[in-house]
Amino acid sequence: MTTLGLLFMIGSLTFVWGLAAWCYRKVLTAPAEDHVVKPPDSLGG
């Protein structure tokens, strides 16, 4: 395996695992239903 191959592999794995971990952390620690982001200002949020 070349160094570039290793870099692409590690980068891709870090991205997908990192994204999934970030999402699940956010889902599992999500506060009550009323604590949500508002729609963008342009939509009257």
Binding site: L6, F8, G11, P39, P40, G45
Partner: protein, 543 residues
């Protein structure tokens, strides 16, 4: 007595159900082949671009349309697209959103039976004998021939009706068993059946995948450069020249589409059971991220690495030429025959594929079930009987016409490949152009725990529709003539298309009857007013 309203039990439940629908055989068998064929590690550049700029935003649009339709009392693609697309044309195009999951289920449940059958064969082999007729001491060519022969005999490749000669073949019993499990899970309902099963099956799949991954990454060096490092290199070493070829970018977008179940008709249905206050932006992203872990994190690490270590560079060309089925059901059994404790890992691997398949197939029946219920006013029990009958007829067709797997291949090409892109295009155009992007984004943000970046607005308005229309145009220009000519040369393929058209006619008729029912019930069929819960009550003068 009215039936209890179907709804999701928990937020994590709906995420795992959607992820379960997305994670399937394509993650483990199709993705690595596509990557190796289109630049290895460099393929990940167009692949992640397609994920971020096509898959995730179109997925958000589907979640949004589904939840909005559900708030208006609809759960099927024809009804929901009628509301979003404001009229008859979108409503009847929405029939594709029922046809795809139902049509794909015709052959997918059969493939599910193959996975279960292979897993059982490996469990048997643990207690003695050889799995799938592959002798590890025989020359490699002989092993591959034995594996291919076993697979061909199992699926009845030799001729139509061959699985019914001299009594039912074992795979037909396996199919009936798997089909019964599907019907039973769907019958238990959204929360009690699909959600509960996915909450159990998805972690179980991940555990199986981790065990197989650890085994593959610790395989001993087989000499002549056949080791894990070179196996990973075969999949991941970048070939930047390939990035200049449009084929790599088209393949990446295609893989993302098929993998995320975008344009499949399932997300719209699943999201229709969510409430206005339920978050869908983070949920949609989480379901996509879960799918990527299985695809890149497991599929990209296991399949080709294991095959390379035992077959070497020379054997890989043949393995990839066989496509997903060849790689999964002919090559990997040879790999497991060489692997220490191969029978255990073979059993684990095919059981994992079986779980991946069943979490997908149950999601294929649910949209049709919801459609039959709301268009014909059937009770859930009666609707299940009708959908199960349709499923049995369609699958029975694929199993009977098993010669050369023509029926299966025809439905996969026309319904499971071409129509997905068509439905995605219809949905994106309805969402961004007819319903209105501003309105769509406002709806998406109700209850949201994340904000959709502004760039995605541009993507949904311009990039996604352009990409989809170019893809359809390119197909019509380059391939449609050949596809139609191929139908003329093969009676089974042609009759399979007639079967699909017959099912389509039935669904169109149901839509017609449904529209009459919905109008009679005073439902907002053409999306002319806001959902009741959004209407501001008239001021009483107090405030």
């Amino acid at each position: 007595m009215s039936e209890p309203k179907q709804q999701w039990g928990s937020r994590i439940g709906v995420i795992l159900a959607v992820a379960g629908s997305a994670v399937g055989l394509g993650n483990f068998l199709r993705f690595p082949g596509q990557a190796a064929d289109n630049g290895g590690g460099a393929f990940m550049i167009p692949y992640f671009c397609a994920l971020i700029f096509l898959g995730i935003p179109i997925g958000w649009a589907e979640w949004t349309m589904g939840r909005y339709g559900g708030r208006k009392g609809f759960h099927s693609a024809p009804a929901i697209l009628g509301v979003i697309g404001k009229g008859k044309i979108a409503r009847y195009l929405g029939v594709i959103g029922v046809l795809i999951p139902l049509g794909v289920s015709f052959y997918y449940v059969f493939i599910e039976a193959w996975c279960l059958s292979y897993a059982i064969e490996y469990v048997r082999a643990i207690f003695g004998g050889t799995a799938l007729g592959v002798e590890s001491g025989a020359p490699l060519a002989q092993q591959t021939a034995a594996s291919a022969g076993h697979f061909g005999a199992m699926v009845g490749r030799s001729g139509d009706g061959s699985l019914f000669e001299g009594g039912l073949a074992p795979i037909v019993y396996a199919f009936l068993f798997v089909f019964a499990i599907n019907v039973w899970l769907v019958k238990r309902g959204l929360s009690g059946g699909i959600e509960t099963f996915c909450k159990w099956a998805m972690p179980a799949m991940a555990i199986c995948a981790v065990f197989v991954l650890v085994r593959v990454l610790t395989l001993p060096d087989q000499g002549e450069g056949r080791n894990v490092s070179n196996g990973l290199g075969f999949m991941w070493n970048p070939d930047f020249e390939k990035l200049w070829e449009p084929k790599a970018w088209i393949a990446a977008a295609g893989q993302i589409f098929f993998s995320l179940s975008v344009g499949f008709g399932v997300i719209v249905n699943y999201a229709s059971y969510m409430k206005k206050k339920d978050d869908l932006v983070l949920s949609g992203l989480t379901a996509s991220a879960t799918n990527e872990v299985f695809e890149v994190g497991f599929g990209g690490m296991i399949t080709l690495t294991a095959a390379f270590v035992f077959l070497g560079l020379a054997g890989m060309a043949e393995a990839l030429a066989g496509g997903s089925f060849g790689l999964g059901f002919t090559t990997l059994p040879v790999v497991f025959a060489h692997m220490p404790f191969g029978n255990y890992f073979g059993a684990l691997w095919f059981f994992m594929l079986f779980l991946a398949a069943i979490t997908s197939s149950i999601s294929m029946y649910q949209p049709t079930l919801a459609f039959v219920q709301e268009s014909l006013g059937f009770t859930r029990g009666k609707a299940i009987a009708l959908v199960a009958s349709l499923g049995l007829i369609g699958s029975g067709w694929c199993i009977w016409f098993s010669g050369g797997m023509t029926a299966l291949g025809t439905i996969d090409d026309w319904v499971g490949t071409f129509l997905i892109v068509v439905l995605a295009a219809v949905q994106v155009i309805c969402f961004s152009w007819v319903w209105g992007l501003e309105r769509g984004m406002k709806e998406a943000h109700h209850g949201s725990h994340l904000r959709i970046p502004k760039i995605m607005w541009f993507v949904l308005k311009w990039v996604a529709p352009t990409y989809l229309l170019i893809t359809i145009g390119r197909f019509v220009w380059n391939d449609l003539g050949q596809w139609i000519a191929a139908l003329g040369q093969n009676v089974v393929a042609r009759n399979t298309i007639f079967l699909v058209l017959g099912v389509t006619a039935l669904l169109v008729m149901f839509t017609y009857l449904g529209e009459k029912r919905w109008r009679a019930a005073g439902l907002d069929v053409d999306g002319e007013r806001e959902p009741d819960e959004d209407r501001v009550p008239a001021k009483t003068g107090k405030g």
